[in-house]
Structures are given as structure tokens and as C-alpha cells.
């Protein structure tokens, strides 16, 4: 049981590292989509004790949103704005990986501080979730393009999803769907904003979005 799930966790970690090291936006989006798929698999693997319908609805909507709709939205955004690469991120790719390792260590440490709710859960679950969240945050902080930031937000959401799906068993479907819906609308509106940004500024560099300051 543990070993199977741990493979998924390892894959998620690898996906995170890939996100940190790739400059191609297209690749990044695809990696995020794959991560979404991994989440669906993870759901399937952990939610064995719940009604099948509930789990399948959740899995289905996860796949649809995280692996199909969001990536498509973002792919369109980079196509429209002709932004293929993250040219000059604030933090270079090599450093990003180093930061990634540090963040991984931090996650492991934090994970050790919090007792696991029950022994059946893999001890990797918590660190992986935290790692994914932090990588998402790091992507937002270190990348220049608006698309990367949305991507970072998605990765962060993925991390929270990992957390939720592994640690919290009894949360109701209603809430989970609400969460998904909100994320969906959020990303959708962000997409609209990206569209407006690229039209208004002819680029997607957020560092030029800094006229409002003191």
C-alpha cells in the first residue's frame, strides 16, 4: 500500500522539480497537467473507504479541471500572447533547484513536527503536500510572466489537494466541489485578466505591472 502511493508521491516531487527547472512555458503547463493526473490517481489510491460515486465524481472533475481545462486555458494564453519561454526569471533555474532542495528539507522538517492523524497514511504525504505548496509559492515569487504565476497558483492548489486528499478523509463532497469550483472560477478570471494584460501591455511580464506603489 505504502509503496504504491509513495511512487505517486515521488512522481509528484519529480514534477515539482521539473517545474522549477524548465524555462519552456509549454512544458511547464504540461507538467502541471500531468501532476493533475497524478492527483487523480492519488485520490483513487487513498479514498478506498468512501462511496464509489462520490470518489469518482471527485476524480472525474479533478481530471477534467486540472489536466484538461486549466492547461488548455494557459496554453491558449501563451499562444495568444506569443510568450514561449520564461526568459529572465528573478531566480535562475539552477538556483531554483537549489531552493527547491532547501524547501524540500524544510517540508520534511515541518512534516516531522506535526503528528500524523493515523498510521495508515504514508509519512511522505505531509512533506510532499507542503513541498508542492511551497514550490507553487516559489514559482509565483520567482517568475516574471503572468502565466507562470497562474501556474504557480495551480501547483500550490495541487499541493493543498494532496494534503486534503491524503490527510482529511471525511470532508464532504459538497465542500470539495465548492473548492474546485472556486479554483476554477479563480483561474478562469485570472485567464481573462491575462488576456486583458496581454492586450493592454503587449506582454505578460508582471514586473512591469508595478506602477502602483508608494
Amino acid at each position: 500500500m505504502h509503496s504504491r502511493i509513495d511512487i505517486i508521491f515521488t512522481l509528484i516531487i519529480l514534477a515539482n522539480l521539473l517545474l522549477l527547472s524548465s524555462s519552456r512555458l509549454g512544458t511547464c503547463i504540461n507538467v502541471a497537467a500531468i501532476q493533475g493526473l497524478l492527483l487523480a490517481v492519488l485520490t483513487l489510491a487513498t479514498r478506498t473507504d468512501e462511496p464509489l460515486i462520490q470518489t469518482s465524481i471527485l476524480i472525474l472533475s479533478t481530471i477534467v479541471l486540472k489536466s484538461i481545462v486549466f492547461p488548455q486555458l494557459l496554453q491558449r494564453a501563451i499562444r495568444d500572447s506569443e510568450t514561449r519561454r520564461e526568459m529572465r526569471p528573478y531566480v535562475g533555474y539552477a538556483q531554483s533547484i537549489v531552493v527547491g532542495m532547501v524547501v524540500l528539507a524544510l517540508s520534511l522538517w515541518l512534516g516531522s513536527k506535526l503528528p500524523l492523524p493515523n498510521p495508515t497514511i504514508s509519512p511522505l504525504a505531509l512533506p510532499v503536500a507542503l513541498f508542492t505548496i511551497l514550490v507553487g509559492l516559489f514559482l509565483i515569487v520567482s517568475r516574471r510572466k503572468a502565466v507562470s504565476q497562474v501556474l504557480g497558483y495551480l501547483v500550490m492548489e495541487n499541493g493543498i489537494y494532496v494534503f486534503g486528499v491524503t490527510m482529511v478523509h471525511e470532508s464532504t463532497l459538497f465542500v470539495e466541489l465548492g473548492v474546485l469550483l472556486d479554483v476554477f472560477v479563480g483561474v478562469f478570471i485570472m485567464g481573462i485578466m491575462i488576456f486583458h494584460i496581454s492586450r493592454e501591455f503587449d506582454h505578460l511580464d508582471v514586473d512591469r505591472l508595478s506602477t502602483l506603489k508608494d
Binding site: E170, S171, V179, E200
Partner: protein, 495 residues
């Protein structure tokens, strides 16, 4: 009843998207706003019962914040109608650059406004942490288009920041919810299955402490971002300064309170779990940092809407400080929520009037307001004294009570920082706002325009808000007093 209150604005919002006639749509806005207000008022005499297994219920803090929201929305709707009429007649000229830009379609604006109301109605009645989260996230989504009403690049930037920062914050709050769920599931004998506030509070003693702490921290940072606690407040000045004034008023007066309520819910659990001091110290810390941070940016601020926004940061700090101090200060904090909402909304509305006339958000461009728009300028000065806690305004009483709480708890250092910051902020705001009102008229405006006519739509709403703060300072009705006390007791206050 609760359901009606919730569904009415949603439906009205949906409908508003499709109404062609401006007049009918505006009528709908007003009607919905006032029906909402009327319905909320009836709750004061007869509190509605819980719904859906206690998921939706109106306790004292909920009623308090719902009423604030509803009242503000009613006033803002009146102002908003006047605003829309004005915007229609003069297409937006960019305040700083003189270029022209389009506005978002009025139907979208009105629709979003109503849905925004619906989401803000949902927040105070949610008794389930997950639902609360959904509601707060929806407020962000519903308000983003409102901020982007004037379609120019600065408002776009503001909206982007608002959206991104608040989304990240809210995501962390979600993590916090999960943490609390984990904390609850630890209880071996009787695992709490839901994130219902009532069951969490009753089971609080069995919650796993580290998870609860982690959850509280995530919620505090997450919702704190939305509430505008420093250093998480960074979106706030941008969004408030770029959105239309009526939206700024709602953001500042109602939305921030919603996030504050969410933090209060978390604090409720902490209190029940015996972590009172843990939560309180954090709230005091954030409160003081927010106040100091606001003071830094209010001094010599060049943009008066940003100044008001920072003042909101300050007051959110005061609210958080009050709750953090516990004891009598919590009552002060609850009271302050009303006072701040009314006076800040008033100021934003008046700022809107000034912006219309002077066509600039820069402090230096607004000169001799008392000569050009006497009524608005007088309200502006009244607002200054209301927001900075002068008697006989209600803010004086609430800030006084919070100070009293700090001293009664023996936290003299906190009291000193609190007073010093208030003094600096007063100095900063008064210097800016009085200069705007009193200085000599700019030659261009003074000679060409003379005294401008001020319409009822733009004067009455802020005046009403000002009157409310004034009346609360002179006479606190028993009904409000009771609800405030009840609310304070719920979140850890005494008597």
C-alpha cells in the same frame, strides 16, 4: 428567511446581467439593496433559526457583520446609482494621464455588485469552515470585475494584484481548514467528522494542538491577507485606490469585515481549545504591525484614496488588536467594526465626489475643496474627525474602550504603541485632509467653476453614514449594545 436573503441578490444579479434598460436595472439594484436591508432589520427583532444541519445560522457576530454589510450596501447602492448616472454622462477620463478609457458594461457592473452582496451575505451566516471558505473566495471573485470597472492599465494592475494575492491567501486558508480537519480527526473516541463550527467548539478540548495551531496560523495568514493585516495587506491600497469609490467603500467597509469575521471564527475554536493566549498574542502582534505600517504610509501620502486605504489597514489592525487583548476590548473591537465601516465608507464616497470634481487622486491637485464643493468638503472634514476617533463620534468610544482594555490587561507597552500610532496617523491624515479642504483654490478651478453644484445622490449617502457614526457616539441603542456584547462574548470578550 436566511435563504431568501441569500438567493434574492443572486437572482437579482443574474437578472441584472440581461436587463437592457439602465433605468430598470438601477431600480433593481436599489430595490434589492433595500429589500435586503429591510429583511436584515427584521432579524434584529426575530433571529432566524439555523438551516441545513446548522451550516447556515446567524449568531450574534454574524448578525452584526451582516447588518453592517447590508446597511453599507444600501447606502452604497444609492450612491452607486448616482455614480452610474454621472459615469454615463461623462465617459472616464484618466485621472493621471488625461487619456480616455472605456468602462465595464453597466449590466456587468450591477450584476457583479449584486452577486458580491450575495457572497458577503453568505459569509456571516456560514457556520461551517468549508462553506465559509467558499464564501470568502467567492467574494474575491465577485469583486474582481468591480475593481476593473474603469478599464485602464492601472486598474488592471490593481485587479491582477488583488486577484493573485488574495487567491494565494485564500489557498492558504484552505490549507488551514484542512489542518483543522486533521486536528479534529485525531480524537480517537469520537472523531469529529465535520468542520462545523458548533461541533468544533464543543469538541475543542479533544483537538490535536499542533495541528490546531498550524491550522490557525494558516487561517490567520490566509484570511489576514484578505482582511489587510500588514505585512499581508499589499493588495489593499492598490485595489482601493483604483476601483470606483463606491466599490472602495464596500471593499473597505464590508469585505474586510467579512475576512475579519472568518478570523474570529478561527479564534473561537482556539478559545474553546484553551489556546486563547496563542491566538491573542498573534492578533495583537498583527494588529500593532498593521497600525505601525499604516502610519508609515499615511504620513505624507500623495494619493488620498491610498491614504484612506492605509487607514483601513490601520483600523483592521485596531480590530485585531481589540480581539487580541480580550476582556473588555473585544466589545470595543466589535463596536469599532461598525464605526470604522460607516466612517470609512463615508470617506470613500466623499473621495469619489472630490475625484469627480478635481479629476485627480493626487492630494496636491485638490485645493480649496471648501470653496468649490462646500458640502462634500465639510463632510470630508467631518469624516476626518470621525475616522481619527474624535468625540462625539462613535470611533472615539470604541478606540477608548480598546485602550481601556489594553491598560486593564496591564499591557502598557501595547497601549503606548497604540496611542503613539494613532497620534502619528492623526497627524498624517489631518495634515493631508485639512490641506485639501482648506487650502486656496487652484487658479483654474476657482475662477472658472466657482462653487459646484452637488447632487443629492452624492451628498446624502455619506451624510447618512456620518450621522450614524455621530449618533452611535452620542447614544448607543440597547439593542445594538446587547448584540455587541453577545458577539464579544462569543469571541472571547468579557461582559
Amino acid at each position: 428567511m436566511i435563504l431568501v436573503l441569500l438567493l434574492m441578490p443572486i437572482l437579482a444579479g443574474m437578472v441584472a446581467f440581461f436587463i437592457k434598460s439602465d433605468k430598470i436595472r438601477r431600480g433593481l439594484l436599489l430595490t434589492t439593496a433595500f429589500l435586503h436591508l429591510g429583511l436584515t432589520t427584521t432579524f434584529w427583532s426575530h433571529r432566524p433559526g439555523p438551516l441545513f444541519d446548522n451550516w447556515l445560522s446567524l449568531d450574534a457576530p454574524g448578525l452584526l457583520f451582516l447588518s453592517i454589510t447590508s446597511f453599507l450596501f444600501g447606502v452604497a447602492a444609492v450612491y452607486g446609482v448616482g455614480y452610474l448616472i454621472r459615469e454615463e454622462s461623462t465617459p472616464g477620463a484618466h485621472s493621471d494621464e488625461g487619456s480616455f478609457f472605456p468602462n465595464t458594461a453597466e449590466s456587468v457592473f450591477t450584476g457583479c455588485l449584486l452577486i458580491f452582496l450575495a457572497t458577503m451575505t453568505l459569509v456571516p451566516m456560514s457556520q461551517h469552515l468549508g462553506l465559509l471558505w467558499v464564501a470568502i473566495e467567492s467574494t474575491t471573485l465577485a469583486s474582481a470585475p468591480l475593481i476593473y470597472f474603469h478599464r485602464h492599465h492601472q486598474s488592471l494592475e490593481a485587479t491582477w494584484k488583488y486577484l493573485l494575492i488574495c487567491s494565494v491567501g485564500i489557498a492558504l486558508a484552505l490549507l488551514g481548514n484542512f489542518c483543522i480537519a486533521v486536528a479534529a480527526s485525531h480524537n480517537a473516541d469520537q472523531p469529529t467528522t465535520s468542520l462545523l463550527l458548533s461541533s468544533l467548539v464543543t469538541q475543542a478540548k479533544h483537538l490535536e494542538i499542533p495541528w490546531l495551531k498550524a491550522g490557525f496560523l494558516c487561517l490567520l495568514v490566509g484570511y489576514g491577507t484578505k482582511m489587510g493585516l500588514a505585512p499581508l495587506h499589499t493588495w489593499l491600497p492598490d485595489a482601493h485606490s483604483e476601483s470606483p469609490s463606491v466599490v472602495s467603500a464596500l471593499l473597505s467597509g464590508a469585505l474586510l469585515n467579512c475576512a475579519f469575521l472568518a478570523i474570529l471564527r478561527a479564534q473561537q475554536i482556539c478559545l474553546a481549545a484553551g489556546l486563547a493566549d496563542f491566538g491573542r498574542n498573534l492578533l495583537i502582534g498583527f494588529g500593532l504591525i498593521s497600525m505601525v505600517c499604516a502610519a508609515v504610509f499615511i504620513l505624507e501620502q500623495a494619493d488620498y484614496k491610498r491614504m484612506l486605504a492605509y487607514s483601513s489597514v490601520e483600523h483592521m489592525g485596531i480590530l485585531s488588536l481589540g480581539v487580541g487583548l480580550g476582556g473588555g476590548a473585544v466589545f470595543g473591537s466589535m463596536f469599532h467594526a461598525i464605526n470604522h465601516s460607516a466612517s470609512k465608507a463615508m470617506l470613500f464616497l466623499v473621495a469619489g465626489n472630490l475625484l469627480t470634481v478635481f479629476k485627480s487622486k493626487s492630494v496636491n491637485d485638490v485645493r480649496g475643496a471648501l470653496r468649490v464643493v462646500p458640502v462634500s468638503a465639510a463632510l470630508w472634514v467631518v469624516g476626518l474627525f470621525a475616522i481619527t476617533g474624535f468625540p462625539p463620534f462613535g470611533t472615539f468610544l470604541s478606540e477608548f474602550i480598546i485602550l481601556k482594555g489594553a491598560l486593564a490587561e496591564g499591557r502598557y507597552g501595547v497601549a503606548v504603541i497604540y496611542l503613539a500610532t494613532l497620534a502619528v496617523i492623526f497627524a498624517g491624515m489631518s495634515s493631508i485632509m485639512l490641506k485639501m479642504a482648506q487650502s486656496n483654490t487652484a487658479p483654474v478651478l476657482g475662477s472658472a467653476h466657482g462653487v459646484q453644484r452637488e447632487s443629492f445622490w452624492s451628498i446624502a449617502p455619506p451624510a447618512v453614514l456620518g450621522m450614524v457614526v455621530l449618533l452611535l457616539g452620542v447614544h448607543l441603542p440597547t439593542a445594538i449594545d446587547q448584540v455587541l456584547h453577545e458577539a464579544a462574548m462569543t469571541v472571547g470578550g468579557s461582559s
